[in-house]
């Protein structure tokens, strides 16, 4: 083989610099992320904002709509006048979150997605909700399981309920075109039903959408940074507002380690444009502390005015409670995703049910 050896000596291999290796990987990652979008998979939901995350079914559902009911204005004012240290609860939440157990073969979450919108031709506001239970396997090859249950629609407040009764207490509402609100089977027919539906379970072998963070696919969630600085590098967008959105999504939807979740709280506390609101009750009526910001994203349901996004947190347990989109003008709740439960476990109750 001496001629081969001579060839190898004549043609030495140049060194591969880490920069070149990294730049190449990023090019490839962009192509990979781009393919996710092109295929129109659920990751596309997030990719537009550079963030692909868990709970896609949940994500798809997450919103709410204009309500005419003045629920929130007093709280709204807090966001302007909050004390400078009003965001300290995020650091408390970080400390609490860091000690939450995070080992297990499944990450389960139960979310309630809600939207609020007006009944057709009426002054009263409906609140429509569904429950989305998601089980994401720690092993990237496994299937992700979902159970979605339509929880129904009903008047949003006692005042709305009175108006609804005056209207004859209808059990369905018919719109001229597609109905507003959650994506349901009836929606395209312009129908909104008051009655809850049956749970529907499905599993999907989709690509691992927890990984497309800021266009940087990660093969393991352990690859995520566990410091605020590291997360900022990963999630950072040219626009601080988008960085806030990314951090919030990570916090609420991603099956990340407790350390990473803690880092996300700390990052949120440090980002500009995140204002303390103070104590609030979330969309499900649970007490918590909140921050608000102007999201770079648009609400799912078209809303003409500006909106603010509110994150409600339980600092003592370190758990996120809800993401709520409210109108800037009157603080009314438009859409929300409330987290009922998230945990790491070795049991997936849905596996094998279908």
């Amino acid at each position: 083989m001496d001629d081969y050896r001579a060839l190898r000596e004549l043609l030495p291999a140049p060194p591969l610099s880490p920069e070149v290796e990294r730049a190449g990987r990023e090019l490839l990652n962009a192509a990979i992320a781009g393919e996710g979008v092109r295929r129109g998979r659920r990751a596309a939901w997030w990719s537009a904002l550079g963030l692909g995350l868990a709970g896609a079914a949940a994500a798809a559902a997450l919103v709410i709509v204009p309500s005419a009911v003045p629920v929130a204005p007093p709280q709204q004012q807090h966001s302007v006048h909050a004390a400078p240290d009003g965001k300290r609860f995020l650091l408390v939440a970080a400390t609490s979150a860091a000690s939450v157990p995070d080992s297990g073969t499944w990450w389960g979450s139960t979310l309630v997605d809600g939207r609020q919108f007006r009944a057709p031709g009426q002054g009263y506001v409906l609140r429509q909700t569904e429950s989305v239970e998601t089980w994401i396997p720690a092993a990237p090859e496994g299937r992700t399981w979902y159970r979605q249950t339509y929880l129904g629609a009903k008047p949003a407040t006692p005042q709305d309920e009175a108006a609804w009764r005056a209207d004859g207490a209808p059990a369905t509402w018919t719109y001229e075109r597609a109905a507003p609100g959650l994506i349901t089977k009836d929606r395209s027919r312009g129908l909104v039903r008051a009655a809850p539906g049956k749970p529907e379970t499905h599993s999907t072998e989709d690509w691992d959408f927890r990984v497309v963070l800021a266009g940087k696919p990660l093969t393991k969630m352990n690859d995520l940074p566990d410091t605020p600085e590291g997360l900022r590098t990963l999630l950072g967008a040219p626009d601080d507002r988008a960085t806030v959105d990314n951090a919030a999504r990570l916090l609420f939807f991603a099956p990340v380690s407790s350390e990473t979740r803690a880092a996300a709280y700390r990052l949120l506390a440090s980002l500009p444009g995140v204002d303390a609101v103070g104590p609030v009750t979330d969309a499900l009526g649970r007490p918590g502390q909140a921050v608000e910001y102007r999201s770079a994203e648009y609400p799912v349901t078209p809303y003409p005015g500006e909106t603010r996004t509110r994150l409600v947190i339980d600092p003592a347990r370190g758990t996120p409670l809800s993401i709520e989109t409210r109108s800037l003008a009157d603080g009314l709740l438009l859409e929300f995703t409330a987290i009922q439960d998230t945990r790491w476990t070795n049991e997936n109750p849905l596996e094998g049910t279908k």
Binding site: D3, R5, L7, L10, L11, P15, E21, G24, L28, I32
Partner: protein, 206 residues
Amino acid sequence: MTVNVASAGTSDPAGALSDAALLELSCRRPERFGEIYDRYIGEIHAYLGRRLDRQAADDLAAEVFLTAFRKRETFDARRGEVRAWLYGIATNLIALHRRAETRRLAALQRSAKAQQGPEHGHEDHVVTRVDAASAAQGRLAAELRALPDGDRDVLLLSALGELSHEEVAKALDIPYGTVGSRLSRVRKKLRAALGGVNPLNGGTDG
């Protein structure tokens, strides 16, 4: 080539997937293709760098993987290894840069000649060896440069990529028999150019 082994670490059992299994998986989970890159970027960059130059390798290495990523669904494990397939893609890419390759070989030829000049002769003892080596390298570079492109591809996939005859055949989509006949013809020429004695080795070429 060490990269090849590194990704099969114990912390990630999935990392121990064979290349072919990983590639198949990547059809459903595109992000897993990144591991193919991690395994082979070192080798592929080296191969491109040996045949072209460092700048070209820096520019083209990622392109090999982008091409492979786009074509991954057409990869057929029955037709060979992922590694050989990547070398084939890299070789096709080099074919688009033939002029760069030729220039490089011409430069190597010249620099080998230049090294034989008297200005290098201040340490006779060492220089004799260097001269002999340079002379042989110059002849080798000239020989390589004179080879038909197809022959050079076969030779360098075998010599630099260490692909088997069968893998070379599949990578270049040519008959198996052609690989053997080209290689034996070309290697005869190289040995002649090296003078039967490999001065780099100081021994006879068996």
